[in-house]
Amino acid sequence: MKLIKAILRPGKLDEVKRALVDLDIVGMTAFEVRGFGRQKGQVERYRATEFKVDFLPKVMVEVVVDDEKLDAALATIQQAAQTGEIGDGKIFVLPVENAVRIRTGESGTIAV
């Protein structure tokens, strides 16, 4: 099992979710997060004061998938979240040791 952490533009969440559901990946968790990479921040102006806002709002989606579905999931997320502009986000993949479904106590891949 692998954990996919995808940091996305906030407006891309729905497209990514739909694309993953089409792949039959039906569980995920989304977080409102803030961060910056090469996009850096943005300048906001209130009355006469300018603010350099470094941490821009993003959405992070976490999905745990079977190893055999990993490549398809990564390609799907990458395509669904892409605009081609700086600031599209990043995808990280981490190994997952185990998973437990709380309702039934099942563990391992079946619990995902």
Partner: protein, 483 residues
């Protein structure tokens, strides 16, 4: 009877008086309207208690009018709503950890000043017991005798509103004026210091200002200067603005200023607050006309000045920065409302539009200057209320329409207008502005020095960093883990 001829006419004495007034107003294009205006404007200038005992032959006893009194009660409710509106307006600008404290600095005064006004504030502002042009008296403490035994007695000769509705209406002004000052002090002042500051400032600064301008005192149309201030350009906005300037200088900047500032935490709050302020300002300015029939113009002037100021502010931003901002629209509207306050019943719509435009430009420039010199008037209380009130007061002198400043209700002002025109009134208004700056500035400094030496003005840097919502009130506005 003077302002509101009722069916069935009146005694012959009143009819005679009415003919006299027609004669006085013969030169006016719309005598009927002006006739209402005369009374209402005088009432708006707060001359009533003085008139009760005055020898002005023009003012006759009239019965209380239901519609006019209802306007005052409705106006009081409108002006009350401005204080929570201001709390939202200010609260939106601060950091999330200080929003409750910021809002409480306004909201709490509905409690504190609401009581102070009834106990002693009204009496100090509008009683004549001390016989002084600078302070009222103690004869109407607890609103003793105000409105007669049933609360329905007319306020004074020549005025058809009840005394009790007038006292309530004025109380709402007394509440919001110190609340305006809080914009200069948010995110660092100790709430205990704020409690005592509001209390002392209200009694020793606000009440004398109200007396001098509206209570028949030194500055107003029956006093030495003959200044006209429709709804509080000097009493409310210059007073609050100058107090904000002085207190921001004495209390000092926030520890995060200017390098670690954060943008406003909730811009929708700012728009909500500005909307409530505009709504409430219909009471503040509009109901200051003191009679229902003729109040249309003061309502209209108030609104159109705010519209023009919002438009002006946004257009300046659009040209300079490429984008009109929501915060700019809200700020511009408030600046326009401030600017038209002293003039609302003394001008027609073209002058109201001019005032809206000029005050928006003036306040916009003031805000730029403040940012450039890095002075921490945190929420621009002086830059909007002080500067806007000053511009409004001066423009009222320049633009007041003589027909709307009749001699029987504004003897000194009308005399100035007749002898030396608007320029003469402008000079009188300059003097009033200087006196207000001096009195309020000095008085505010003294109060703050006393409080600074006794209970201290600021919270500790650690508390400032923790956030005043928790430090001062033990509460947090937003707690996502417990929602």
């Amino acid at each position: 009877m003077i302002s509101n001829p009722r069916q069935g006419g009146g005694p012959s004495a009143l009819a005679t008086f009415d003919r006299f007034r027609q004669g006085v107003l013969a030169g006016v294009q719309q005598p009927q309207l002006k006739r209402y205006g005369v009374l209402l404007l005088a009432a708006g200038a707060g001359l009533l208690p003085l008139m009760a005992g005055s020898a002005h032959a023009a003012l006759q006893k009239v019965p209380t009018d239901g519609a006019d009194t209802l306007l005052m009660l409705m106006g009081s409710a409108l002006v009350l709503l401005m204080t929570p509106g201001l709390a939202f307006f200010y609260g939106g600008f601060t950091r999330a950890k200080n929003v409750l404290n910021t809002m409480m600095m306004s909201f709490f005064l509905m409690g504190l000043i609401g009581v102070v006004w009834v106990v002693i504030g009204y009496s100090l502002s509008f009683d004549t017991g001390f016989g002084s042009p600078f302070i009222g008296g103690l004869g109407q403490m607890w609103l003793n005798g105000v409105g007669g035994p049933l609360g329905d007695a007319p306020l004074a000769d020549g005025f058809a509103i009840s005394g009790s509705s007038f006292a309530l209406f004025q109380g709402m002004f007394a509440i919001i004026t110190p609340a305006l000052i809080s914009g200069a002090l948010v995110e660092r002042i100790n709430f205990k210091a704020w409690f005592w500051f509001s209390l002392l400032w209200s009694i020793f600064i606000y009440c004398p200002m109200a007396k001098m301008v509206w209570g028949g005192g030194y500055i107003g149309p029956f006093g030495e200067l003959g200044v006209i201030d429709f709804a509080g350009g000097t009493v409310v906005h210059i007073a609050a603005g100058v107090a904000a300037l002085v207190s921001a200088a004495i209390v000092g900047p926030r520890s995060t200023y200017p390098d670690q500032l954060r943008p406003p935490h909730n811009v929708p709050f700012i728009l909500l607050g500005a909307g409530l302020l505009w709504f409430g300002w219909f009471g503040f300015n509009g109901a200051s006309y003191f009679a229902a029939k003729g109040a249309g113009f003061s309502f209209m002037a108030t609104s159109v000045a705010a519209s023009m100021a919002m438009l002006t502010w946004c257009l300046i931003e659009w040209f300079r920065d490429g984008k009109p901002t929501a915060v700019g629209a809200a700020t511009g509207a408030v600046a326009g409302l401030v600017g038209i306050t002293p003039a609302a019943g003394f001008v027609y719509m073209p002058q109201a539009i001019i005032i809206g435009a000029v005050v928006a430009v003036g306040c916009y420039l003031a805000v730029q200057v403040k940012a450039a010199i890095k002075f921490d008037d945190s929420l621009d209380a002086f830059m909007v209320h002080g500067v806007g009130g000053t511009i409004g007061a001066l423009l009222t002198g320049l633009l007041a329409v003589p027909a709307l400043v009749p001699a029987d209700y504004f003897p000194k002002s009308a005399e100035i207008l007749a002898s030396s025109g608007n320029l003469g009134l402008f000079i009188a208004h300059c003097k009033a502005v200087l006196i207000s700056y001096g009195f309020v500035g000095l008085g505010t400094a003294v109060i703050l020095w006393i409080l600074g030496a006794t209970i201290g003005l600021r919270v500790s840097p650690q508390d400032e960093s923790r956030g005043l919502d928790y430090v001062a009130h033990g509460e947090e506005a937003y707690d996502p883990m417990n929602s």
